[in-house]
């Protein structure tokens, strides 16, 4: 099982804006390079992208949770 890891510390959001739909839900397929979350740090919002294609099987952080560098954000199955 591969995981998508955060490339920076900050606060992890699952949607591009508070009133928007989540980027992806569990069960959705993602393409390589597809955005799955937003990380806020230093007043920057950076998109976190999947490095591989597959199906999101689990989110490992809550929406709005603080994450550290390298922390697993989501699991991607084949």
């Amino acid at each position: 099982m591969a995981t998508i890891k955060s490339t920076m510390p900050g606060v992890c959001y699952r949607r591009p804006a508070p009133d928007a739909d989540p980027y992806v839900e569990v069960g959705d397929t993602v393409a390589s390079g597809q955005t799955v979350a937003l990380i806020e740090v230093m007043k920057n919002f950076s998109e976190l992208r999947s490095e591989q294609e597959g199906t999101i099987t689990k989110f490992l952080v809550e929406d709005g949770e603080e994450v550290s560098i390298g922390q697993d954000i989501a699991e991607v199955g084949a």
């Binding site: 890891k5 490339t7 920076m8 510390p9 900050g10 606060v11 806020e40 740090v41 230093m42 007043k43 920057n44 950076s46 603080e66 994450v67 550290s68 560098i69 390298g70």
Partner: protein
Amino acid sequence: MKELIVHTGGLSTTVQDAGRDGHYALGIPPSGAMDQYSLRVANLLVGNDERAAALEATYIGPRVEFTDDRVCAVTGADVPVSLNGDPVESWRALPVRAGDVLSIFSPVTGGARPYLAVSGGIGVPEYLGSRSTYTLTGIGGFEGRKLADGDRLPLGDAAGARAAGREVPEELHPALPEMPEIRTVIGLCSYRLTSAALDSFLGTPWRVTKDADRIGYRIRGGSLDFVEREQPHGAGSDPANVVDLGYPVGSIQVPGGDEPIVLLNDAVTGGGYATVGTVISVDRDRMAQTKTGDHIQFVRTDLEGALAARRERSERLQRVRELLGA
């Protein structure tokens, strides 16, 4: 063509040198490299004046392409670096040629800010005597902003640069401890804190929040009580308010008693919050290498302690200069 082509700018990469000193009274903060030691060592490795302009990245570094023969060096945070896809060492002079691509990857594994110096220095125009970027007002650096994909940075003349192949041993790298001790001179407005609050300030492991950048670091983890008083004319109603004063660079203010902010290189130069202490200049380098989620511990020192720390850093830099024949 003397340029550095920015393939990707990274998260927040800016041109910084030793700083824009001398204009604080006009409300212009010094800017400059947050970790001055790492900036200076990077410049020494490539044969530059140690105050020359280099690139400062945070968390995610840039990918850049060279357009002529240069020497470059990466210092600061521990981060994977590659040249044309092959891993290369930090704290070492790296000769490069036209077409070579240097990548400073994420994730940083220790510290927060890598530095990239290039022989000849980053040749953006000086503004008020410095090439440092101050993004809040958009002055200095490359167009007054962080680097973006596709930027082309002018480089200075590399003729003065020395031969490559030298390195700085680990004992002369900055320590990147789990919870850095940040030496602090208590004051100017510490009289506003109760003595229990001052003890609590020094005894609390403070956590760095997501709002931690070149302007300042917001930290959390404790709550400090202020001495009760009738606020003087000109001070606001928050017990953390005082009549406006100039903020020392590195000073720590505590809005609301529970939201300390350490003011750093790009911070506002004055205002009406009680500054309870000032991080010594040497340990601003340490602050620069702490990241969101890290904990820091303030340790009380005095002016003599601050000056001794400065001497000790000067001696370390002198050892680097001697080692590199600079």
